[in-house]
Symmetry: C2
Subunit: 512 residues, 2 copies
């Protein structure tokens, strides 16, 4: 069995069943291996940021790594922005990068780059396989360690893919989470009881259904508030779950939101810092005078920690009904579209069990507050701040969950970084509805300019934030996705309802 | 004057007059500075690979660096593929990357990445400015050293952009090229006279008009053949110039082409190696038995070296007329399009003085041979093998040379990596005609599969090389570029002629 076949075979044995790929010459043996060995569905992205973003969406929803296959340094470089988002989301992912043949690299062929330096910027685990006999071991380590919630990057030279190594095997390593620390839990329970106004800040796994319901039990027992990290990788939300607001994006608002608490207990979330460092705004958003307790440092499982804390507090076995969100259906708005109206229409119409990938930036401010009582859904957000995460992430989520409706709630500027994801949505006939907020500008930059005292942007600032000229209906159709444009709330409700009744991808340009 | 103003002011003083930008919050002071200080034309790219590819095209044509402004690590990462091409092209370029405030970085905000590691993969010069007082010195070094033919990357923290440093100045450093080495020239002349069948291999500056005409004089004096490197950054071609074939892309063909020579003299070109390392194909394409002489090692100027060599050989003061290409106008073909017919139509119709950016991959095999007697033009090619170079490079070339027609001769698969460049072409109303070879597949990969013995690709290989589903007319119009589709040679000739008579960008999808 050739090295390439060994890689694919080992990955399949470890449960890898999807590969988001944009291969080149140095990955052709691996492509051939996906035909020789059954078990992996190949999904083409026509730009590498689509592959990595899709694997991020897949990993968040499936809870296990997809494989990503990229071509040498430039191919990997094109995928880094969304690998950064995946790293911040703690998404399991198995990235394979082809490399020049070991005997060829030293001649500095045109495509040669320092692939290891690139991989070092986002990988939790990385290795360049040195001998074909190591492939089984390296793939096993890579895939199992990815399962911990990180990106594993394996760089595999072309000649090793073609060699026939001796047969080998390796045991999957699945390092256990650090056990719950009883002392920490006791201390947290004691502090929660004593604090005047405590808050439990949730992130990671604590934002899944189980974690949220446990958090609601803790709230019932201790009177604490609940908050979620600003950009959750995956959060369950809607009726029957506790309404958990997110920490605000703007540092001034976040500080105001957090300053009322005398105790902040973190489970699955890290201590919040300002997104950017502004003059006269502190980096740390939590008051120095407030007490903080970190429950999941050292890789502890957020679900287990919350369960132990609920037990320690003698919390009720289930959260009281009246502390969970009741169904709330909003009236549909009318008239010319605005960001707020879009949020209302979406919150009102989104179907039960849908997955909403939210990268709408300045137009989604109201979306989270409005969805407390929506039909239960899963929210995926922009975890690393690297734009162009939405469209590919939606594609990957749809592949992980083919029976669920995916809604890609998307800013136009951000969508332009990875609009090629629409092609993959069309090719794979994915149930993704893309809602493009077309305000034809990087509005967030205009907001940032006001911080510099620029309220009337000059020609350069105007030109560098003006996105007019994109026709999203044609752009969507160019990528093979049926597309329409709307400019009123009524039209949006009508077109969204229609799209929800159909299969396959759709795009709705929402002209603001 | 704020640090950001100091940067822009210093760059303007050094002759920088264009900035290809995709800025974010940490670059807003620099955007504001481009309004406060006149002299830099800001050009927005809606994806960073467009900015870096455009700066590459600009630098190749203008011979001086454009500025590129990118947002933190993810923004830089998105630009790396075309920065790699620029590095291989030895293009002067001044890249500025914003960084988190110095006091903020340590808190690991969401967008934090190892920017220096990323920059190290393509930069000839790089630095993170440590104090605002260093900005003048750092910009001066960066811009002047970029002029040597490399990418300079300056990483500038946000707080330093806002500080007001004391006034400072720095002298531009312009390290002279190493002087021509008389001994090397004498040896080369002697060897050229003695060799049975020598060849002069040209690259870099040697492929500009002056260098080519000097090479023709050397050929007249010594009887050597002339060859060009496989992927020239910039090459002049057409009637009145010597017809210089390029070294073939496929290693077997290149070895065959080179093996007939007993002496290979390189000026501005490096010793050719195989693009990929295939089993049983050597990395080095030149026979071990052949003698090689490198004239421009150590950064010597190819033009000066050729001039000295011509003198040493007692070459005629100008190349004999009959050794230069005569005008050759091809008859226009008819019927369904093929790659070869496209090459004929383009070679026949391309106007004098046009710039052809060629990234047509498998469909341009005949283009170079066919254009020996075309109207004189400039050819820019894919120097680093990193796909998606063509559309942005064409935009940058058009900005450098607003009075020249740019023709972007482009493969569909490669165009998909950076189709956002069409938006910049539309926004800036650039005279770029994009000719898309729509064969709806990564044909080069199907060719590579045959090397692995796969003549009937299986479903995975087929799926991963099949690009059907893109509607290029809609995709082009979606980005704001008037677009048409043709499928016969007659229609291509008609639409290309029409487009040549108009201003602003056009796209012609050529269905194969």
């Amino acid at each position: 069995m050739k090295g390439a076949h060994v890689l694919v075979n080992t990955a399949v044995q470890l449960g890898v069943d999807v590969c988001f790929a944009n291969p080149g010459t140095t990955e052709m043996p691996l492509v051939e291996a996906m035909d020789a060995i059954e078990g992996i569905r190949p999904v083409l992205g026509v730009f590498e940021g689509v592959c990595t973003g899709a694997a991020d969406g897949f990993g968040r929803m499936a809870g296990r790594p997809a494989m990503v296959l990229l071509h040498l340094g430039p191919g990997l470089a094109n995928g880094i922005a969304n690998l950064h988002n995946a790293r911040r989301a703690r998404t399991p992912m198995f990235v394979v990068v082809g490399e020049h043949a070991t005997w060829h690299r030293g001649y500095d062929p045109l495509l040669a780059m320092d692939i290891e330096a690139l991989a070092g910027t986002f990988s939790g685990w990385q290795r360049t396989t040195a001998r074909s006999g190591d492939i089984v071991r390296d793939v096993t380590e890579a895939v199992s360690l990815a399962g911990q919630g990180q990106v594993s990057t394996l760089i595999l030279p072309y000649d090793l893919q073609l060699e026939e190594p001796p047969e080998g095997r390796a045991d999957a390593c699945s390092p256990a989470c650090a056990p719950v620390d009883a002392g920490t839990i006791e201390r947290a329970a004691a502090r929660l009881k004593k604090a005047k106004l405590p808050v439990l800040v949730l992130g990671g796994k604590a934002l899944q259904r189980e974690g949220l319901l446990t958090a609601a039990r803790i709230r019932a027992a201790s009177g604490c508030d609940l908050l979620a990290e600003t950009f959750p990788a995956r959060m369950e939300r809607g009726e029957g779950l506790p309404d958990v607001p997110r920490i605000q994006y703007l540092p001034e608002m976040a500080m105001d939101q957090l300053s009322r608490y005398d105790l902040l207990v973190f489970a699955g979330a890290v201590r919040p810092v300002s997104f950017f460092g502004y003059p006269n705004v502190p980096a740390q958003l939590v008051d120095e005078g407030s007490e903080t307790l970190m429950l999941t440092e050292g890789g502890r499982d957020a679900g287990e920690v919350l369960e132990a804390l609920a037990g320690e507090l003698g919390a009720p076995s289930s959260a009281p009904e009246d502390t969970l969100a009741r169904p709330a259906r909003m009236d549909l708005p009318s008239g010319p579209l605005s960001g707020d109206k879009i949020c209302v229409v979406l919150a009102a119409l989104q179907p039960e069990g849908c997955i909403v990938v939210e990268e709408a930036i300045t137009n989604s401010l109201l979306y989270h507050p409005l969805t407390a009582g929506s039909r239960p859904f899963t929210l995926l957000t922009l975890t690393g701040g690297s734009l162009g995460q939405g469209p590919p992430c939606a594609a990957g989520a749809a592949i992980a969950c083919p029976d669920r409706q995916v809604i890609s709630f998307q800013a136009d500027g951000a969508a332009l970084y990875t609009l090629q994801a629409l092609w993959t949505q069309a090719r794979e006939r994915l149930n993704v509805i893309t809602l493009i907020c077309s305000n034809r500008s990087y509005d967030i930059l205009r907001l940032e300019l006001t911080r510099l005292g620029v309220f009337q942007p000059g020609p350069a600032a105007t030109r560098l934030s003006d996105l007019s000229g994109v026709d999203w209906v044609r752009a969507g159709e160019g990528m093979g996705v049926p597309s329409v444009s709307v400019s009123t709330a009524e039209a949006l409700a009508r077109e969204l309802s229609r799209a929800l009744g159909e299969k396959g991808p759709r795009l709705i340009e929402m002209v603001l």
